[in-house]
C-alpha cells in the first residue's frame, strides 16, 4: 500500500474499491455523525469514528456498542440528541467491559450470532476504574472487541492523572510543581501488555496518526471471536496543551520517538510490530505539548528528558521498533 503522508488523503483512488479504506467508502456508516460536541482537534472523536465505522463494515452493520462514561460518551450524547447511528448503551464509568459481556451473552442466548459487540472507553474507564471488569472479560474470553481510547488522563473531568498518564506529564492532580514536577516516574501500567498476559486471541495498539492501520486492525479483530483488545493513542489538544491542528502530527511523533510502540499480539506473544520510519528524539514529541513545558522552561531539564529518552530506548529495544 502506498505510504500516506499525514491524513490529506483519506482514501486512495488508485486502489481497487475493495482495497480502499472504510472512510473512503461513501456508504460508510458515519456512526458518529456530525453535531457532536467534541473539542476541535479531538483525537478521540477521530479515532472512534474510524473504529466504529470499520467495525460496522466488518459486521455488515450488525454491531452493538457499550460505552463507558467519559469524553466520548458525554460529547456524543447531549440529551436529547445523539450522534450514534448504531445501537449504543452507556451504563456507568467502571463497567463498560462487563456491560459488553452482558450484551454478548444476551445475543448468544438468543442465537443471534450475527450481531457483534464493541466495548469502548477512555484510559480512565479502561485502565483504572474499569480494570477489574476488563480483566474479567479477558479471562472469560467473552466475545467482545474492547477499544480503549487513550488520551492519557481523565480529560472529561478536567485533566486528572490516570494509570495511563506518562511520567513527567502535567495534569491537574500532578501539577508541574514540587520536587518532581508533573506525574512521577515509576508508576503506571501498560494495558496492552496486561491484555497480552491474559492470552486472549488479539491485542493491538494503534494511533490516530496511522488511520489505515487503525482500520485494518479493527477489521482483523472483527474477523475473530473471543476477547479482543485494541489500545488507541488519541491526542487530546486541551489536556495535552497542543494545537488543535497538531493532533495527528503529535500522535505520529509519539510512535516515531518510540514512546508509543505500535504492535499486534495474540495468545500472550507479540506477533507483529510497526517499525519506526523516521526516528525522532523524545524532545520533538514533548515540545509541542504544554503538559511537558516545565521540562523546557524556565530551564531545560536534560535529566528528566534523559529518563524519558531511556523509556523510549527501552521500548525500541524491547519491541524491535527499528
Amino acid at each position: 500500500m502506498p505510504y500516506q503522508v499525514g491524513s490529506f488523503a483519506v482514501g486512495n483512488r488508485l486502489l481497487p474499491p475493495e482495497e480502499r479504506t472504510t472512510q473512503a467508502d461513501p456508504r460508510r456508516a458515519n456512526a458518529i455523525t456530525s453535531g457532536h460536541r467534541a473539542c476541535r482537534g479531538c483525537g478521540e472523536a477521530l479515532g472512534a469514528r474510524y473504529v466504529v465505522d470499520s467495525a460496522l463494515r466488518a459486521s455488515e452493520g450488525r454491531l452493538i456498542a457499550a460505552n463507558a462514561t467519559g469524553c466520548l460518551e458525554v460529547f456524543s450524547t447531549p440529551y436529547p440528541e445523539s450522534a450514534w447511528q448504531l445501537p449504543w448503551l452507556h451504563s456507568v464509568f467502571g463497567n463498560a467491559p462487563a456491560v459488553a459481556t452482558g450484551i454478548a451473552a444476551a445475543l448468544k442466548a438468543k442465537g443471534r450470532t450475527d450481531v457483534r459487540v464493541l466495548g469502548q472507553g477512555g484510559d480512565g474507564g479502561t485502565v483504572d476504574i474499569g480494570f477489574a471488569c476488563l480483566s474479567g472479560m479477558f479471562e472469560r474470553n467473552d466475545d467482545v472487541l474492547y477499544v480503549c481510547y487513550d488520551n492519557e488522563g481523565y480529560m472529561n473531568t478536567g485533566v486528572q492523572r490516570s494509570g495511563a498518564t506518562p511520567p513527567a506529564a502535567r495534569t491537574a492532580t500532578t501539577e508541574a510543581v514540587g520536587d518532581e514536577p508533573g506525574n512521577v516516574f515509576g508508576q503506571g501500567k501498560s494495558a496492552p501488555l496486561i491484555a497480552l498476559a491474559h492470552e486472549i486471541p488479539y491485542v493491538a495498539t494503534a494511533t490516530i496518526a496511522d488511520l489505515h492501520d487503525l482500520e485494518a486492525k479493527v477489521e482483523r479483530a472483527m474477523g475473530m471471536h473471543g476477547a479482543r483488545y485494541l489500545h488507541v493513542l488519541v491526542t487530546c489538544p486541551l489536556g495535552w496543551g497542543a494545537e488543535a491542528h497538531d493532533s495527528v502530527r503529535i500522535a505520529r511523533l509519539a510512535t516515531q520517538s518510540g514512546l508509543f510502540p505500535v504492535f499486534e499480539g495474540s495468545r500472550g506473544d507479540v506477533t507483529a510490530v510497526t517499525k519506526i520510519r523516521r526516528r525522532v528524539p523524545v524532545e520533538d514529541y514533548l515540545r509541542p505539548q504544554r503538559r511537558f513545558r516545565h521540562l523546557f522552561e524556565p530551564e531545560l531539564r536534560t535529566d528528566v528528558l534523559a529518563r524519558i529518552q531511556a523509556r523510549a530506548d527501552r521500548n525500541i529495544e524491547r519491541f524491535g521498533l527499528l
Binding site: 454491531l63 449504543w88 456491560v99 452482558g102 454478548a104 451473552a105 442466548a109 438468543k110 472469560r140 467473552d142
Partner: protein, 404 residues
Amino acid sequence: MLSQLEGSRAVAETVARCRPEVIGAYPISPQTHIVEGLSTLVRTGRLAPCEFINVESEFAAMSVCIGASAAGARTYTATSSQGLLYMSEAVYNASGLGLPIVMTVANRALGAPINIWNDHSDAMSQRDAGWIQLFVESNQEAVDVHVQAFRLAEELSVPVMVCMDGFVLTHAVERVELPEPDEVDAFLPPFAPRQVLDPDAPITIGAMVGPEAFMEVRYLMHAKQRLALEAIPRIAGEFEARFGRPSGGLVRGYRAGDAETIVVALGSVLGTIEDVVDELRADGQRIGALAIRTFRPWPLEHVREALAGARRVIVVEKAFAVGVGGIVGQNVRLALSGLDIEVSNVIAGLGGRPITSASLRRALTSELPPLSFLDLNEGLVARELARDTGAPAENMLRDLAGRA
C-alpha cells in the same frame, strides 16, 4: 410438585422455571447456594438457553445484567450485604435505565463490623434506588414471589428485588410446592422489551440528561413505582387464581381486624410473631400483626387502612437509620400521620441475633418507648459509653473478653 428442600435450592429451581436468558453470578454468603444451583441447572441443560457468567464481582454481575437486559434478554442475579453495596452504582443505573432485572437479596447485615448473619440493612441501604422491594415470609412465598417478580418487572420496566432472610430462609430445609414449568410458562410470557439494542432499529440508551429534563425523568420513575401499587395485587391475585395459594401482595393482616395492638414487620420474623400473637390472643389480648410484603413502593394507603383501627402499633424491624432510628418505623409513622395512634419502634435481630418468642412476648406486653432495641445488653453499652472513644466493636472486645 411438593418437595422438602433448602430455600436456596427452591429459589434456584423456581428462577430456572422463569427462563432467564442471562445470569451474572458472584458468590457471597448466604446466597451462594442459589447461584450454585443455577449454575448446575444451566450446565446440565435443564435451563436453556441461558448464559451463566461467573463474573469477577457483584458490580460486574449487575453490569452484565444491565447489558443483557438492554439487549432484550430476561436476566437475573442474586447477592447479599457487601455485594449489594458493591454493585450499588449499577443498581441505581439499572432502575434509571428502566431495565426489568430481577435480583434475589439474601438479606444479611452490612459491615463494618463484618457480619454474615441476617438482618435487613442491606436491602434498606438501597430503598431509594428505584427498585421495587418485596419481602417474603417463607420459602414457599420466596418461590411464588420470584415468579410474580419477573411478571411485574417486565410489565412496568422497573427492576425488582426479592428479599429473603439470609440463612433463616435460604438455609432452611422446609416443605415447598414448586410450580410446574408449564404453569410458569403460562403465567410468564417471554420478555418483550419496551426498548432494546437492535441493529435493525438503533437507539441510544444512557445519555446524559441535564437540568432541563432531569426532574421530569425522576418524577416519572416515582410515578412508575406508584403504578406497582396497582400491579402487585393484581399479579398476586392472578397467581393465586392459577396456583391456588395466596402470596405476595402489598400488605397482609393477621388477626388485625379487631386488634388494639398491631405488630408490623417484614420477612421471616412474621412467622414467630404470628405464633406469639396466637398465644397472646389465647390470653385475651386483642393483638394482631401486619406483614409488609412490599416495602418499595411504600403502600401508604394500605398500611394506613390496616392500622387505622389500632390504639397502639409496634414496628419490629431488622435495620435502622444510624443517628435517627427505625426505617420501617419512619415509613409507618408517615402512613399514620394525623391519626392518634401510639407508634413504638423496636429494632431487633441485628446481625442475626435471634428474635425469640419469649423476647417478643415480653416486648409486646410492655410499655415501650418510641424507640428501643430488643435484648440489648444495657450494661455493656453503658460501660462502653462511659469509657468512650474509638471503634465501638474493637473497644467492646476488651469488655466482652472480660479484661479490664
